[in-house]
Symmetry: C2
Subunit: 556 residues, 2 copies
């Protein structure tokens, strides 16, 4: 085994955004770092969530020693139930990360069957030939770690997601010392978060939102409604602290807000001042100047609490003129319309709305900007570098950011996209064979409901020009079509516009049937293809549209 | 007529984004300001463009005296062909604006039939009881105007789109003097652009992009590919000037880029240095360090020149390692995925990509920020104020921005959404009756291809879960269904997953038919409804999905 090679096998999140997952293999042993999901883009019609295709791991099921999680965001843990439904492996992560995983497993009734093993920063575990040390990093979610993975060929550093926050609200600093120690002793490979590589300078500290929130607390004369991601424990802590200072009670609204704050409080990660909490049902009874409602739903999700508040359809909270609504979050691209629609409703209720890139900021990013990325590159000084977590343009920029390290020991950067592998052996590093990867589209959040690509293609086609279905009844005795074909259609043209056209289309189909030889007429595949082709030509000519055409031949 | 009232009738662009159009009526005379279009959001499946519903104008066709255009952006002129196809009215605008209208009219073969009347800033025209003065303003497109409309009840100022650029590249300053003169003499109503009301401070001057572009020209060692909106004549002028200074030739690529630069040059609005132009077919022969390609397609439109360049499928330009690609434009929300996809392709070709919110900026907005909006409010000091061009949240914020004017003569601000009207008479101003408004969805850019809302609803339904169509053949002699029903389906489940289910579904339909009374069986409407209900229940239970179900009964 001493001549084994090390393989880096990205299963998701490289060259794409979200569903981060990475397999690391040495000989007959594999560990997996993260198993995320992504929310589908609008092109994936009717799909609810997307996970990586884990079939590489299934093929090598007996080699997989465990899953190691860096932090509790959905793009790192959302695929865990789907991976664990395919194989029984232990899962390692910090207590808070595992508590968030437990919530997801409960939804799938899987909690009793899995092995979750809590670790602390600084702790080391052994998985086959891999020794994994967990290194505390700062990020928008608490209890995030980077990984130092010692292999027979050298040390791999995997940063997870991070920023270098010099003043985190929990005073738990990024453990730069440990990173520096590994750097000093020599690192074979660095894999580092590329999400914000396009941003120059440094990402602001989480504490940078405090002056703006303070100003909002100072000026608000009535109810304050603040929305942020429920996993942003740092942000929630600041809101709780300010509420205590300004003598306001705090009510949490929304299922995820309630459960995540309870988890964080239980683990000692969220300090809730004495008797500050207000029950949701008491919000409207309390004096408006003495209340903060902390509400989930920053992205305008249709069923979220904030969306329901916006249309005055929430049982506990009604926004009134003079109230202040704060969106302490970023707008995830693709959600603009939903978020703006929600904001318009809130404005109609007379609320002042505070959001977006204000100065000082009401939200800061959790990902490192260019100068922080350089700091980590310089501390670690790896022999090889693989930028992770980003689209190609971001990976490429991160690689070029590292180019000054070539004078400091960096031999080569590799831009890998999901499915491309890196092989390292004593002779060097190079791209290896591709492995099977892909995405699994899931319809309604249950593990079984996989939507196949062909079905999505059909939906896309249907969404553009609808369908036209000609139905021909053929007499099984005479072999002839005795009546004019029927045509049904939806999403193509309205009945008023289309009825004359449909009459003509029926004639087109009838002529195709009549003009066919009796031999052709016995081969239904041939007949369907001829009808489809003739009708398609007719409809494009008449309407320039290309509905899905699906001829049906009935034997009667 | 002396007791007539003045009516402000927004037909588009208030409480929504895009397709700006405003009717102003006094007694039996109407003028229309702008007739824009919008690009559909992704929920409008298969729709290419959206225009306002002009039926209010059609109903009062004989009263409409003319259409007045503020500037040549699509959200102000894109609906002109559709409005003019419904009524023959004269169109007034600056020469450049009308030249852009002509391009659109040509596409619809309408150019010979319309009356386009070019005006200059400072000029006044009379349309019935309205005197309209055109006032030069600065904006991202040249030859933009605000309107001072003198009515029997007082002066209306309509700003169009603007920013207050102190140093426009063409040195044509915003005509604040004329605005101030009107303000001094007394303005009845101000309607002002709300697009950027959320931005504090001042929008940067167009010249602010020059230092960054200069830096890019300085550092680029190979080909420079710059993309911007083809209507951004200011931006194109700066690119041409820098190219001349740095000894690079300029090639324009893309249909709109070629035609708009030709129009602007012809009107003396774009100065093209001597012999600087390079034919597109000569780009790849010229020395890479001596070329700038100016390419349309900043939004990642699939057929645009830049998208084709990105996948190395453009006949004149191939991007090579070391080339620099500059996106000198904003990302219009909704286009992120397409733009990022294009950027990933360019990065794979080895180009350095410069885009987004860099400092100094590579793009600046054309719309006024909060301080500029206050400047205009303070100069005009109207009696009534109606914020225009924005969603409700923006209109509301703009109205609250004007609240200090209440001590300076402002009697009231009105937040109107499209279809809500304002009435002004000597007794005061108030909201009036609603008028019919709406949107007209157009499929492939021709005036006839209107897509009805019901068709779009069907497409949305189809896009989520596809369709299931049970087909029952009923014997016209026996009144019975003699064979098992057929079921066809697409976009619902793949054949592998669904074939067993479909067999069961056929049985469900057969049972529904069998269990119906002979009376029900003669009423096909009843039968279709029963089959739909039973099959829907069955499919939701089995799959949690809700495909469009459309039973077909054939008499054979």
């Amino acid at each position: 085994m001493s001549d084994s090679k090390l393989q880096i096998i990205p299963l998701g999140g490289l060259g794409e955004f979200g569903m981060n997952s990475m397999a690391i293999r040495y000989g007959d042993d594999i560990i997996v770092v993260d198993a995320g999901m992504m929310f589908p883009d609008s092109e994936l019609l009717g799909v609810d969530i997307v996970t990586p295709d884990f079939s590489y791991l299934e093929q090598h099921r007996e080699k997989v020693r465990g899953l190691v999680l860096t932090h509790g965001h959905e793009d790192h843990i959302g695929g865990v139930p789907f991976l664990l439904s395919q194989m029984d492996i232990p899962v390692y992560g910090t207590a808070f990360t595992l508590a968030l995983v437990e919530r997801r497993l409960e939804e799938h009734d899987m909690l009793s069957k899995v092995r979750l093993k809590a670790v602390k920063p600084g702790q080391r575990i052994e998985l086959g030939p891999f020794k994994v040390e967990f290194i505390h990093v700062t990020h928008s979610i608490v209890s995030s770690v980077a990984l130092a993975i010692t292999t027979p060929l050298g040390v791999i550093i995997h940063t997870g997601d991070f920023k270098v926050d010099p003043t985190p609200t929990d005073n738990e600093l990024f453990d730069l010392h440990t990173l520096a120690d590994y750097g000093k002793r020599g690192v074979l490979l660095l894999m580092s978060d590329s999400t914000n590589v396009d941003r120059p300078g440094y990402t602001e500290s989480e504490r940078a939102v405090r002056p703006r929130l303070e100003d909002i607390f100072n000026r608000a004369e009535r109810r304050l409604v603040i929305s942020c991601f429920s996993s942003s424990i740092h942000r929630l802590q600041q809101i709780l602290d300010l509420s205590a200072e300004y003598g306001r009670k705090v009510a949490f609204l929304g299922r995820s807000m309630l459960s995540v704050t309870e988890i964080a409080h239980g683990l000692g990660l969220l300090q809730i001042p004495d008797s500050i909490l207000l029950r949701p049902q008491d919000i409207m009874q309390a004096s408006p100047s003495k209340v903060v409602a902390v509400v989930s739903g920053t992205q305008g999700e249709p069923m979220s609490s904030l969306s329901r508040v916006a249309v005055d359809n929430h049982k506990n909270l009604s926004v009134q003129p003079g109230d202040t609504v704060v969106l302490s979050s970023r707008i995830i691209p693709g959600n603009e319309k939903a978020i703006y629609r929600m904001m318009n409703h809130l404005a109609r209720r007379g609320a002042e709305i505070i959001y977006g890139s204000t100065n000082p900021p009401v939200h800061v990013s959790g990902h490192a900007s260019a100068e922080e990325l350089k700091l980590v590159l310089n501390l670690v000084r790896p022999k090889y570098f693989v930028p992770i977590h980003g689209e190609y343009r971001q990976l490429a920029r991160h690689a070029s950011l590292a180019s000054h390290l070539h004078r400091l020991g960096l031999e080569k950067s590799f831009i890998l996209e999901t499915g491309e592998t890196l092989e390292i052996d004593p002779a060097g590093a190079r791209k290896g064979e591709r492995v099977t990867v892909g995405r699994v589209c899931i319809d309604s959040g249950t593990i079984d409901e996989v939507v196949e690509d062909m079905v999505i293609r059909d939906r896309r086609h249907l969404s553009e020009d609808g369908f036209v279905i000609p139905i021909i009844a053929i007499n099984k005795h005479s072999g002839r079509s005795e009546a004019l074909p029927e045509i049904v259609s939806r999403g193509f043209m309205s009945f008023d516009d289309g009825s004359g056209l449909m009459q003509e289309a029926r004639q087109v189909v009838a002529r195709t049937v009549e003009s066919s030889s009796s031999e052709e007429r016995t081969d239904w595949g041939v007949m369907q293809e001829k009808i489809r082709a003739d009708l398609k030509r007719f409809l494009i000519k008449q309407t320039s549209r290309r509905p899905l055409i699906m001829p049906v031949i009935l034997e009667v």
